[in-house]
Amino acid sequence: MSLFDKFKPIVDIRAELAKLGVMPFGAVTEKLLSSTEAIVNGHKVILAGTNNYLGLTFDPQCIAAAKQAVEEQGTGTTGSRMANGTFAEHIKLEQELAAFFDRRHAIVFSTGYAATMGMASTLAGPGDVIVLDADSHASIYDGVRMSGAEVIRFRHSDAGDLEKRLRRLGERTANTLIIVEGIYSMLGDPAPLADIAAVKRECGGMLLVDEAHSLGMLGAHGRGVAEAAGVEADVDFVVGTFSKSLGAIGGYCVSNHPELEAIRFGIRSYIFTASPSPSVIASTRVALRLMQERPELREHLWNNAQRLYDGLEQLGFQVSPQVSPVVAVTIKDRNQAIAWWNELLQRGAYVNLVMPPASPTSDSLLRCSVSAAHTTEQIDRIIDAFATLQPTSMAAAD
C-alpha cells in the first residue's frame, strides 16, 4: 500500500492513450494565429473548444488596456486583496460588475474556480444545508465539501426533484442554499431557472446561480440565464468567470444582499491568494464594456452555434439536447471518441475530449464551443472535419 496506489487508474489510462499514440489531455498550443486559429501539436487548426465565446482574447482595445496596465502598474499585485493587493482598478471593476448586473454588491476573485468554490464553501456552514444540481461543476462540489454543511443532490435540471427535497427539509429551508448553473458546461443545456425560482419562492432557501457559461450570451443585457428567464429577483447570488466571454482569467460574485461585504472577509479563496494582476483587470474591464457595446457579438455567436449544431445533427451525430454555444457530440465507445478526437485534430479542428468521470454520464463527449469570432467558413470546416469521421471500432456515430 503506497500513497501512489490511488493514482493507478490515471496511470493506466495514460498508458492506454500512449499505446494509441494520442495524448488528448496534454495537447500543446504552440502558436496562436488569432482567437480562432492556432498550431496545436504541430497541426494548424480551427479552435473549436476554447470557451472564447465572444472572441475577445485578441481584441485590440483589450490588448492595449492590458499593455498599459503592465507598464503603469507592473506584472502582478504580489498580495491578497486584504493586504497590499487591492488596487483602485479592482474596486472599479467591482463597481462596473455591480452596475452591469444591476446589483448593489460585487466581489472580484483571482479565478472562476476561486469564486465558485469560495462562495459555495463559505455561504453555508455546519448546521446548514446545501441542495445542488447533480451535474454541478467540480468547483461547486469542492466548495460544498469544504463548507461543512449537509449536502444533498437533486436530479439534473429537475425542478420537481428539487421541490421534493426542499419539502423533506421542512423548516430547515430557512438555512438552505440552492446551487445551480446557468448553462451546464459539458452539454451546454440551460437550467430551467423559471421553474427552479418558482420552487424556491414556494419552499424557501437562497439561490446561487453560476453563470460561467452564460455571461454575454443570454438575456436582454447578456446577464445570463436568470435574466433570460425573468427571475433575477429570485437569484440571491450570481457567480461567474472572466475566463470565457471576457477572454481573461478571474471570477466574480454579485448580490443585492449587503451581507456580501462581510462575507467577503470569510472567503478563504479570496483572502489567501494574490489578487488578479493589473493587466487581467484592465482587459476584463474593457471586455465587459465591449460586451455591452457590441450586442452583435451575441448574434454572431448564436448564428454560429445554430449552424454547427444543425451541421453535426444532419451528419447523424448525437448532439446536445438544445442549441447553445456548447455543442457536444456524445459517443458511447471511449476509444472511438479518442480516435475521432485525434482525427479531428489532424483534419484541422481542435475540440475537447471529455471522458467519464468528467462527462455527466458514462459516455464520452467530443465537446465543441463556438465563438462569435468564428467565420461561417470556419464553422463549415469544423463540420467538414466531422463529416470525414468513420467508425474505427465497435461504435458508430450514434
Partner: protein
C-alpha cells in the same frame, strides 16, 4: 420508519444485477472494489433508495461507506 433490515433488503434488490458470476451479495460485499460500481452507479443506487423510502441522503455520509452493511447502517442512522 424503515429499519436496518428494510434498507438491507432494498439494497440487495437494487444491486442484483451486480451479483455476477454466481456471486451472492452479503453485508460485507464492497460496493466499489468488489461489485465494481462506478461513482455514477453509486449515486444511482442512492437515488433509487431515496425514491423508494422518500428520503434525501446527504453526500456527507458517502466517505464512510464501503460495504452494503455500512450503507444500511448509515441509512438507519439517518432516518431514526
Amino acid at each position: 420508519m424503515p429499519d436496518y433490515n428494510d434498507f438491507l433488503s432494498r439494497i440487495y434488490e437494487i444491486l442484483k444485477p451486480f451479483a455476477k458470476h454466481g456471486r451472492i451479495l452479503n453485508e460485507d460485499s464492497e460496493l466499489v472494489t468488489e461489485l465494481g460500481l462506478t461513482s455514477l452507479q453509486v449515486m444511482e443506487l442512492i437515488e433509487q433508495i431515496e425514491d423508494h423510502f422518500d428520503i434525501s441522503v446527504p453526500l456527507n455520509i458517502l466517505p464512510d461507506i464501503r460495504t452494503i452493511r455500512d450503507l444500511a447502517l448509515q441509512l438507519e442512522k439517518l432516518t431514526n
